[in-house]
Symmetry: C2
Subunit: 319 residues, 2 copies
DNA sequence: ACCGGTCTGGAAAGCGGTTGCTAGCGTCGG
DNA sequence: CCGACGCTAGCAACCGCTTTCCAGACCGGT
């Protein structure tokens, strides 16, 4: 039953005041309105069911109080968690989030960015963006998450240090052949961390398998890794680790007795795998909070912030 | 380096035409523009890096081409998958999605709805909404997903029939004591389907455990269920089933040899549990497509559509 | 009685687009 | 040669809201 919308004009007429006055009371601004008038307006608003039109407001004010959020894949639990956290932070500040997936495709990504800019978002969050989305003539703040980009501010976990800590823990369990399942090109840090740990322990480099950041990818990677007979495997993401676990189970390899496993990310899913996964957790809430803070407060432009990770010990490493 | 935005006025001036003409070429509407003029305008647009202001357009046109999407929890893989599918469908039609979580709280949900309406969304998708969000004076189309609401159109999987099919499959494996892990109140259909299957097979009612729709809930529910010594368990959601698997593993119960497990939902996660879960998959893409179609085409108002589920056989049932 | 100050409400100008209506003008048929 | 028509481009109003500026009412002080 679509009645046509009630505008500020209707309210003004109903209350017997000018439209300006309605604005004054709605915004509770510095303008003073006589208490009696104010009540009349509020009554009118209630009676008519008036809802201010944020579009008009945005046009007039020059700000939509809306963020754009682009992830490579909304179905990925890590990004879903991130999106949720960003939404929470944004909502707390009166912002709202336009969320969309770019499927990891640079062309789609660029198109989505353009679309969001057209819609006058007040800020843009790019989660794990592709190489260079060309953000030169963008007039709103942009922040990249989990990847540093040449021209924009960024927030990301301490990939290298975190990976190193995870692998070092594996080393501390006595493992000498520690395999790595790593994502494609463009994300070298976790691999470096793994190397750091191995060389620091005086160990030879272990076997590496490259795979997409997916369960399927981890599954296949683990199968190839198995021939090198590692006693432990570090996966660069949860999803991959879950694939690794499956491959190990299918091969009759016991975890952690025969092969220990640890992974980067630490989404909730990892607490319920079998066995539960030891993970290097990236602090999603912290990243989200910092991203939103920067977008709104607009400070620290161009700075690349690294946030610490947390090693969570569970059964898959042998603890 | 925030330059101030280039508007249609700048383009008009640069191209030496009126602002109206810019509109004509941008919209490729029915209005005819001389090819030469058109080229001049396009050049101006490129040269200036003009981006039409969707806010102004929305104000004038009375439509934002934006949907609002509210889920109980953006972190839940099922909802994340749904959101992704809705985004894809919407994007294909030139729409964009404002997504937010309501944490399953009616008050938050109402507040979010109000916020989205204020922002003039062109349609509202409520995923598994709470009981009655009071949508009387809403002047945009609303669609409820996975729950039928008194006054709005809805799309949901065939919960009862799907659950029945899942349980019947368990019965076909010879199981006689089939436990149920079910969500809280307000979602009776899957429970009814379970009952249907049992009575149709002439079996006595099996043990029931109620739990939240979470891994943790399923975990605890399974622990209480174990005392009834079921030989199979049907979980009303993936998340719960994953909790169930963990409880069984911890208790040293083998799946599927000692206890078979099946679940409703069928998110990708279930393909990589150990053992892989037999699931009644709800057709997320179909639901999303239908929801978006209804929102845009505005037909079938108030109709409650039920879409069929698909039984996917994997190892956890003994197949 | 007059003046200045304070307080409240209204008129109106935009924000950046869209679009109905109109005007200029070249062309063509009569 | 003249009038009509078709094509292209411009004017201007409007979408709903904010905000500046102004006007009037009322107060107290002189």
């Amino acid at each position: 039953m679509p009645k046509d919308p009630v505008t500020r004009n209707d309210v003004a007429e109903y209350a017997g005041v000018s439209t300006a006055v309605v604005s004054y009371v709605v915004n509770e601004g510095p303008r003073k309105v006589a208490p009696e008038t104010r009540e009349r307006v509020l009554d009118a608003i209630r009676a008519l069911g008036y809802r201010p039109n944020a579009t008009a407001r945005a046009l007039r004010m020059g700000t939509t109080r809306t963020f754009g959020l682009i992830t490579p894949d909304g179905g990925n639990p890590l990004f879903a968690e991130l999106a949720k956290a960003i939404d929470r932070e944004a909502a707390a500040r009166g912002y709202v989030v336009l969320q969309t997936s770019a499927d990891g495709d640079p062309v789609t990504e660029r198109a989505k960015i353009a679309e969001l800019l057209t819609r006058q978002v007040s800020g843009l969050v790019l989660v794990a963006p592709t190489a260079d989305p060309s953000l030169d003539d963008v007039e709103v703040p942009v922040i990249a998450i989990n990847r540093v980009l040449p021209t924009v501010s960024s927030v990301r976990p301490a990939y290298r240090e975190g990976a190193r800590a995870g692998v070092e823990h594996l080393v501390s369990h006595g493992h000498r052949v520690i395999g790595l399942v790593i994502g494609g090109a463009g994300h070298p840090e976790r691999e470096l961390g793994w190397r750091d740990a191995l060389t620091a322990a005086g160990l030879p480099e272990g076997p590496i398998a490259r795979a997409t950041f997916s369960r399927e990818g981890g599954y296949r990677a683990a199968q190839t890794l198995l021939s090198a007979e590692p006693t432990a495997i570090f996966a660069s993401s949860d999803l991959q680790a879950i694939g690794v676990l499956r491959a190990l189970h299918e091969a009759g390899v016991r975890v952690p007795e025969d092969v220990a496993v640890a992974a980067f990310d630490g989404t909730p899913e990892t607490e319920y795998t079998w066995p539960p996964l030891t993970v290097v957790r990236q602090p999603v809430e912290l990243v989200a909070r910092e991203a939103v803070r920067r977008l709104i407060d607009g400070e620290d432009a161009m700075e690349a912030l690294t946030v610490p990770t947390e090693l969570i010990l569970r059964r898959s490493c042998g603890c």
